[in-house]
C-alpha cells in the first residue's frame, strides 16, 4: 500500500467525517436540548438537496442553490417543529419515533409528488471541479477539499455560537435543566423552534453539499441518518465537541476499514474471498467501534446524560 493511496484515503475519511458532523450536529442538539428523537432528520437532508437541485437548475448558480437549501430546510424544520414536533416533547420516545417516522413517509412521497420519481441533476460548479495536486504528488478533487474546509468552518461557527453567544448559553442551559431556564423567563418554545431550525438548516446544507457529488433522489437521507445516529451515540448525546470527534472517527474508520481490511485478509487468503470477507467486515467496522466505545464509556465520549 503506497503512502499516496493512504494519504488520499485519510483525506477521504476526513471529508466523510466533516459532512457527517454537519448532519449530526443538528441531530445531537435536538436530542440534547429537547430530548427528542427525530428520525425525520434525514428527510431534511433530502429537502436541502432537492431545493439546491431545483434552484441550481433554474438559476445555474451553486451559491444560490446552497442558500436555498439552507433556507428551505430551516423553514421546513421550523414549520414541522411548530406543527408536529411541539406536541411530542412530553410524550415518550416511542411516540416520537412513530410520529417522526410518519414524517419520513410524508416527506418522501411529498417530494416524489413534487419532483417525480427520477433522480435530479445537481453538479459541482465549474470553479470547484476537477482535481488539484497536493504536496507529495497526491491528486485530490478540489470539491472534496472544499467540503473539508466548509465542514471545519461550520464546526468553528457552531462552537462559537454555543460558547460565546446568548443563544448558546440558553441552549446549554436548556440541556441541563429546561424547567429552570423557563422559570428564568426564557421563551422555551421559541428557543426550541430556533434550535430545531438550526439543526434542520445544517442537515439541508449537508444534503446540498453532498448532493452535488451523489444522487439527488427520494430516500437519500435515511442511510446518512443511521450514520449520524452512530456519530451522536459515540460522541455523547448533546455534545457538539463529541459529535465532531465521533464524526471524524467514524469517517476515518469507515474509509480506512474499507481499504485496509481487504488488504489485510489478502495476506493469508485467496484474493476474491479476501475481498468478500474484508468488505463485509469493513461494513461492520463503525458498529464495532460504537460497541467498543459504549463498553468503555456508556454515555459516549463526551456524554453527560446517563
Amino acid at each position: 500500500m503506497s503512502m499516496i493511496l493512504l494519504a488520499e484515503q485519510v483525506l477521504n475519511g476526513l471529508q466523510l467525517g466533516v459532512m457527517l458532523f454537519v448532519m449530526a450536529a443538528g441531530l445531537t442538539l435536538v436530542f440534547g436540548v429537547m430530548g427528542l428523537i427525530n428520525l425525520a432528520h434525514g428527510s431534511l437532508f433530502m429537502i436541502g438537496a432537492f431545493a439546491a437541485a431545483a434552484v441550481a437548475g433554474a438559476t445555474g448558480s451553486f451559491l444560490l442553490a446552497l442558500a436555498a437549501a439552507l433556507a428551505a430546510s430551516a423553514a421546513v424544520g421550523a414549520l414541522v417543529e411548530v406543527v408536529v414536533i411541539r406536541r411530542l416533547y412530553n410524550r415518550d420516545h416511542l411516540d416520537q419515533v412513530l410520529a417522526t417516522f410518519a414524517l419520513i413517509l410524508i416527506f418522501s412521497e411529498g417530494t416524489r409528488w413534487l419532483f417525480g420519481s427520477f433522480p435530479l441533476f445537481l453538479n459541482i460548479p465549474p470553479y470547484l471541479a476537477g482535481p488539484v495536486s497536493l504536496p507529495g504528488g497526491i491528486e485530490y478533487p478540489m470539491y472534496r477539499l472544499t467540503l473539508i474546509a466548509v465542514g471545519l468552518l461550520i464546526a468553528l461557527g457552531l462552537f462559537l455560537l454555543i460558547s460565546r453567544t446568548r443563544l448558546g448559553i440558553q441552549i446549554r442551559a436548556g440541556e441541563n435543566d429546561r424547567e429552570m431556564i423557563a422559570a428564568l423567563g426564557v421563551d422555551i418554545s421559541r428557543l426550541y423552534t430556533i434550535v430545531f431550525a438550526i439543526g434542520a438548516g445544517l442537515a439541508g446544507l449537508a444534503g446540498a453539499l453532498v448532493g452535488a457529488i451523489q444522487s439527488v433522489q427520494v430516500g437519500m437521507g435515511e442511510p446518512v441518518l443511521i450514520l449520524a445516529f452512530v456519530v451522536i451515540v459515540i460522541g455523547g448525546i448533546g455534545s457538539i465537541k463529541g459529535a465532531l470527534i465521533a464524526a471524524l472517527l467514524v469517517g476515518l474508520t469507515d474509509t480506512l476499514g474499507g481499504v485496509l481490511l481487504p488488504a489485510l485478509f489478502k495476506q493469508f487468503m485467496e484474493a476474491s474471498a479476501a475481498t468478500s470477507v474484508g468488505s463485509s467486515l469493513a461494513s461492520m467496522a463503525i458498529y464495532i467501534l460504537m460497541a467498543v466505545v459504549l463498553i468503555w464509556r456508556p454515555t459516549g465520549l463526551f456524554g453527560a446524560r446517563g
Binding site: E109, R112, P119, E139, P141, Q214, S215, V259
Partner: protein
C-alpha cells in the same frame, strides 16, 4: 327463504364465473414508491402502452405497489391470486422480490412473465415451465461487458459491484467472458453513496479499464465522483446505470461511456420505432430499457392470448414459448429454460440536443442465452 335465495345467488355466481374467465386477468406487482420507483413506473407504462394500443376487451390489469419490500410483494401476490383471481402475474423489478413471489405463484399454476428480474436460481435448477423471463437472465449484460472488454483489447480490468447476490452474479458474469487479468476486484456496500475510497484504489491499481455494476443512485454517485477525480481510465457498465431515467441526473459525467444493453431506442425495426414514438407521445419522456421490457411483456402475453385459451395451460404455455410477437428488440426467442436468447449490444452515451441518451456502436454477443439453461429440466 333468505338462506335459499343466498344459496341460489352463490350458485349462479359460481356458474357465471367460467363465463367471465374468457378474458385474461393480469396482476402487476411492481415498485411504484420509494427508492427505485422509476424502474417500476417505466415497466408499468411500457406494459400499459401495449395494452392500450391493442385496445382489446379481454384483458384486465390490476396494478399494485410492492414498495421494493419482499414481504409486501408476497402479500400482494397472495391477494391477487386468492381474491382477485388473476391468471398471470408480472411486474417485479428486483431479484430478491422475484425469489419471494415467483416460486409460490407458479406452484399454484399461475403464469409469471418477468419484465425485469432474472435471478440465476430461476434460470437453472429452480426453473419452472410457467415462468417466462422476457428481459434477460441477470448475468447477461455483464457477460456482454466481459466480451466487449476482450474486443476493446482491455487486459487489466478493475471490477466492482455491491456486496449482495446480484452484485456477485454481475462480477461472475463479467469474469465468465473476460479473458484478461484483474487489476482489482471490490465489493462495495449496498446503497453506498461515496466512492472516493474505491476511486483512489482504482487510481493506484494501474488498471487499463473499469467495469462497474452499481444500479440506480449508486451508479449516479460513482460516475459523478469518477469524472471529478480526473481519472481517465475507460469505464464500462451495464445499461442499468445508463438508462433514460438516470442519465439526466448523471449529466456530462456519463458522456461517451460505453455500456451494454439488450435494447436501445435506435434499434431499427418498425415495432421499436413505433414504440419509441408512441411512448413519447403518451408520457412525454423517452422510454428506457425497462419500458421496452414492459412493452414486450404485454405483447408476448397478448400474442399467446390470440392463439390459446388461458384455461388450457398446456396450449397457453406452448403459445408463450413460441414467442410469436414483434419485439422492440427485433429477433426474440426463448431458450429451453424460458429465458431470452438474444443479441446484446454495446452502446455509448451521447447528447441529443439537451437530452442525454444512448447510441448503439456494436454488438457484444449474438444469439446469447445463459449458462444456467443446461441445469433446467422441466
Amino acid at each position: 327463504m333468505k338462506l335459499k335465495a343466498l344459496a341460489l345467488a352463490s350458485c349462479m355466481a359460481a356458474l357465471a364465473a367460467p363465463a367471465m374467465a374468457e378474458g385474461v386477468k393480469v396482476g402487476m406487482i411492481t415498485t411504484l414508491s420509494g427508492g427505485g420507483a422509476g424502474l417500476g413506473i417505466d415497466v408499468r407504462d411500457g406494459f400499459m402502452l401495449a395494452v392500450n394500443q391493442a385496445d382489446r376487451k379481454d384483458i384486465e390489469v390490476v396494478i399494485e405497489d410492492d414498495q421494493r419490500k419482499p414481504d409486501i410483494a408476497v402479500q400482494l401476490a397472495d391477494k391477487m391470486i386468492q381474491s382477485e383471481k388473476v391468471d398471470v402475474l408480472t411486474g417485479i423489478i428486483w431479484s430478491n422480490l422475484a425469489m419471494a413471489v415467483v416460486p409460490a405463484a407458479v406452484a399454484q399454476g399461475k403464469f409469471y412473465l418477468s419484465p425485469n428480474a432474472g435471478p440465476s436460481q430461476l434460470a437453472g435448477k429452480g426453473c419452472n415451465p410457467n415462468y417466462f423471463n422476457v428481459a434477460w437472465q441477470n448475468d447477461n449484460l455483464h457477460e456482454a461487458g466481459g466480451a466487449y472488454a476482450n474486443t476493446a483489447g482491455y487486459k487489466n480490468s478493475f471490477i466492482l459491484a455491491p456486496n449482495y447476490p446480484a452484485g456477485q452474479d454481475a462480477l461472475t458474469g463479467y469474469k465468465r467472458m473476460y479473458e484478461g487479468e484483474l487489476a482489482g476486484e471490490l465489493f462495495t456496500k449496498l446503497g453506498q453513496t461515496d466512492y472516493a475510497s474505491e476511486i483512489a484504489q482504482i487510481r493506484a491499481s494501474g488498471a487499463d479499464s473499469v467495469y462497474f455494476f452499481l444500479p440506480g443512485g449508486m451508479g449516479i454517485s460513482f460516475l459523478k465522483q469518477y469524472a471529478d477525480s480526473g481519472l481517465d481510465i475507460p469505464v464500462v457498465g451495464p445499461a442499468f446505470s445508463f438508462d433514460q431515467g438516470i442519465l439526466q441526473a448523471v449529466g456530462d459525467a456519463a458522456m461517451g461511456v460505453v455500456n451494454t444493453s439488450q435494447w436501445n431506442k435506435d434499434i431499427d425495426n418498425p415495432t421499436n420505432a413505433q414504440f419509441v414514438k408512441t411512448f413519447q407521445e403518451a408520457y412525454g419522456r423517452l422510454p428506457s430499457l425497462y419500458a421496452s421490457q414492459g412493452f414486450d411483456t404485454a405483447n408476448l402475453l397478448m400474442s399467446a392470448m390470440d392463439v390459446a385459451d388461458i384455461n388450457d395451460a398446456v396450449a397457453f404455455r406452448a403459445a408463450l414459448q413460441a414467442a410469436d410477437f414483434d419485439s422492440t428488440r427485433g429477433a426474440f426467442k426463448f431458450g429451453s429454460n424460458n429465458h431470452p436468447v438474444q443479441d446484446i449490444f454495446v452502446r455509448e452515451v451521447i447528447k441529443e440536443g439537451d437530452v442525454f441518451t444512448n447510441k448503439i456502436i456494436g454488438t457484444a454477443l449474438s444469439g446469447h442465452g445463459d449458462v444456467y439453461a443446461a441445469d433446467c429440466k422441466f
